[in-house]
Amino acid sequence: MITRYLASVTTKFNPFTPGAKTARVFLANLPPNARQNMQINTTVLPRASVEPATLDIKFKDGKEMTIDLEKMKINDVAVEVDRHSRMLQRQEDLSNS
């Protein structure tokens, strides 16, 4: 997963629900220096909470992405994020050359 173009990640989940696994694995896939390069806000909800898990991603160009954790697994999330990141990468390559 390309994480270079992420500006902020906001997630909120109840770890006892199945939807939380995707959000947690997404956080685990971010690189070790992620906290220096982007804003990461994590809220762990109590066990009794029925609030659905949310994962909001903001890119450096301002695009916001809200991931539906009910349907998408981590591989689907990675595909979705990479699609936009690759576009930003191409733009960067073109502007540099």
Binding site: P18, K21, V25, A28
Partner: protein, 307 residues
């Protein structure tokens, strides 16, 4: 040499008893009916047979985790998001220092046994199933009572039954194990590993080592998921609630004693009320009678004085 004649058991029993002149070892062994001996043990007592090959790393992890789960009354579960090795070492150093300080203030010796240990989620889940669902002392007589035995495997195999902790056991995980139920140590550990308004991190002036960049970034990457205390599963708030028990286990005992004492006092008071009210009634009646008799006596005395 004595005659080597094989005799059947029925023939031996039917034989008339007569005093033998001499007994040979071979015949004597044949005449005594022996009970069936237990089948010979074909493995050393320290290495009972395992269901899965014991030399595998997984088997040994399973063994370690069952032993860990059985021996820790209090366990905190964290997710670790890509900590670097220097961050791990500095975090463990700060935790050990804080635990030693907590030991000194509570006069305990737990610091050396409180460990932050990275676990394999799936193996931990299997070990947890064995610990929760397999009870060799109740299931029946079995010679093999260790967690790697076939009986343990079969008891834990049923995927339909889930443990409460199972949804948490995915992704990179680390457990903090405490060898005793000590809310004081838990409170200190929470303030180091997962600071919150209830358990604030140590101030820079008090503990400058905690404010090193490696420790701070390590704490940022740790995420408290839940806790397992005395076999029950708690969420983050539950873990903080356990840490917030004032005075630890002794404080709880004092609370129970207080409740029982107040209850006993109330009961004694209730039982006393009947006799007390009877006493007051009788006393009141006696006073009324005395008051009735006294004025008459006084009036008589006055009349006598007038005359």
């Amino acid at each position: 040499m004595p005659p080597r004649i094989r005799l059947r058991a029925s023939q031996l029993l039917a034989r008339p008893t007569f005093p033998l002149q001499c007994r040979y070892a071979s015949t004597a062994a044949a005449t005594t009916p022996t009970s069936t001996p237990p089948p010979p043990q074909r493995y050393p007592t320290t290495q009972p047979p395992s269901y899965k090959p014991p030399q595998f790393r997984k088997s040994q992890l399973h063994r370690t985790y069952t032993s860990l789960l059985r021996s820790t009354p209090l366990l905190l579960l964290f997710q670790h998001n890509n900590l670097k090795s220097n961050e791990w070492t500095s975090l463990r150093r700060e935790l050990a220092n804080a635990m030693r300080a907590a030991d000194a203030s509570n006069a305990t010796h737990l610091a050396d046994s409180i460990k932050l240990q990275v676990i394999r989620g799936s193996m931990f889940a299997m070990a947890l199933r064995v610990v929760e669902f397999w009870h060799p002392e109740t299931t029946g007589p079995s010679r093999l009572t260790h967690g790697l035995s076939e009986a343990a495997y079969k008891a834990a195999k049923n995927a339909q039954i889930k443990t409460e902790l199972e949804p948490l056991l995915a992704g990179p995980l680390v457990v903090l194990t405490l060898p005793a139920m000590s809310p004081e140590h838990l409170a200190v550990a929470l303030s180091i590993l997962a600071p919150s308004p209830a358990f604030p991190a140590p101030r820079r002036r008090v503990n400058p080592g905690y404010h090193e960049p490696a420790v701070l970034s390590a704490v940022q990457k740790l995420m408290l998921l839940g806790a397992r205390a005395e076999g029950r599963v708690f969420d983050t708030e539950g873990a903080r609630w356990i840490g917030g028990i004032e005075g630890g286990i002794d404080g709880l005992r004092a609370q129970v004693v207080g409740i029982l004492q107040s209850f006993a006092g109330g009961l004694a008071g209730t039982l006393e009320t009947a006799s007390k009210s009877l006493y007051f009634t009788l006393e009141g009646r006696r006073q009324v009678l005395e008051d009735e008799s006294k004025p008459e006596g006084k009036e008589e005395a006055k009349e006598e004085a007038k005359e």
